[in-house]
């Protein structure tokens, strides 16, 4: 079974839910403590939600300098799959592993409620099993989720297919900007999740793990976790066609 690590920072509070969600998605999910310098050979890493290091200074910035993040950065530079959820997205943004920054919500309030997002790309390690780009319902729970990047960067992200998820309304129409209830935090261009340029690191503000079982009101998040598990399994094993060649070469 494919092993996926979930980093536990002091102040993480979605690590258990994420471990459980990944198990439901078919992974052997293991916790990785923030002080460890090795990733224990996992096939993918998830940075979960919470308030790492109390969100002091800026959400995600102190977590960025923890020993485990050095290992995560090296893993990502090597092509390893990394997904940041909510606070995990903030950590990735602070670390420069994904573009942009997460600002205080436009309405200033912490928001804990269901939103709808749609995948812009269906061919990534994080969305390959999401299906047809229909609206996915899952909760948000954040105070700093307003996605920001300068206009030139936003244009680049759109051009290069790095916008992974956008907030949408119930009919799947892209949310507007400030004031549209479908865009809960005022994110620029309604961006809810982004990819790095290489396509192996992604972050999103909504919580797929909190929508991984119908008992929770929605299991729309499960295909995102399943996509990651499947991609990690593929990355772990050499492609079937490559094996005989390797044997022959010995």
């Amino acid at each position: 079974m494919t092993r996926i690590g979930v980093v536990v920072f002091p102040g993480s509070n979605c690590d258990r839910d994420t471990l459980r969600g990944l198990e439901l998605a078919g992974a052997d999910a293991v916790p990785l403590w923030h002080e460890q310098a090795s990733l224990d050979g996992v096939a993918a890493v998830v940075l979960p939600g919470g308030f790492a290091y109390g969100d002091y200074l800026r959400a995600g910035v102190i977590a960025r300098f923890s020993p485990v993040m050095r290992a995560v950065s090296a893993f990502a530079a090597d092509g390893g799959l990394v997904l940041g959820i909510c606070n995990g997205f903030q950590v990735l943004a602070e670390a420069g592993l994904v573009p942009g920054a997460l600002l205080r919500n436009r309405g200033l309030r912490f928001l804990g409620r269901d939103v709808r997002i749609a995948a812009e790309r269906l061919d990534t390690p994080f969305t390959s099993l999401v299906g047809d780009g229909r609206p996915l319902q899952m909760p948000i729970a954040h105070g700093e989720g307003c996605y920001f990047a300068d206009e030139a960067t936003l244009d680049e992200l759109e051009r290069d297919g790095q916008v992974l998820f956008r907030y949408v309304d119930a009919d799947g129409r892209r949310a507007g900007n400030d004031g549209d209830p479908a865009n809960p935090n005022g994110s620029l261009r309604a961006i809810a999740g982004v990819l790095n340029a290489r396509g192996n690191v992604a972050g999103l503000m909504p919580h797929p793990e909190r929508a991984s079982d119908l008992l929770l009101g929605s299991d729309d998040g499960l295909p995102i976790l399943r996509s990651l598990v499947e991609a990690a399994a593929r990355a772990e094993r050499p492609a079937a066609g490559a094996e005989p060649e390797l044997v022959g070469a010995r």
């Binding site: 200074l57 800026r58 910035v61 920054a101 600002l103 205080r104 309405g107 200033l108 307003c146 920001f148």
Partner: protein, 90 residues
């Protein structure tokens, strides 16, 4: 080695929406204050650095300001020297 004390003032960059500043500005009317605009809310970090010279100390603060105290995508900072003895003498 000497000790040097600095303050790093961090503010949202011009053009970056500052909802805290906007909320503070919006509340001024309740105080009966008029004619105030351009309110921005940031943070101030004070620290003491031990170094051979003030130039060395300032270089350390500069690095911390860039890498830790501010996010260059969204925030600007200004470093200010703080007189350690000012409070004592007073």
């Amino acid at each position: 080695m000497s000790e040097y004390r600095f303050a790093v003032n961090v503010l949202p960059k011009p053009g970056i929406l500052d909802p805290q500043g906007r909320a503070v500005e919006g509340s001024l009317g309740h105080l009966g204050v008029e004619g105030v605009s351009g309110v921005r809310v940031g943070r101030r970090v004070e620290l003491t650095v031990e170094a051979g010279t003030e130039v060395e100390a300032r270089a350390t603060v500069e690095r911390l300001a860039q890498e830790l105290f501010s996010n260059p995508l969204i925030e600007a900072y200004a470093i200010e020297w703080v007189d350690i003895h000012a409070g004592v003498a007073g």
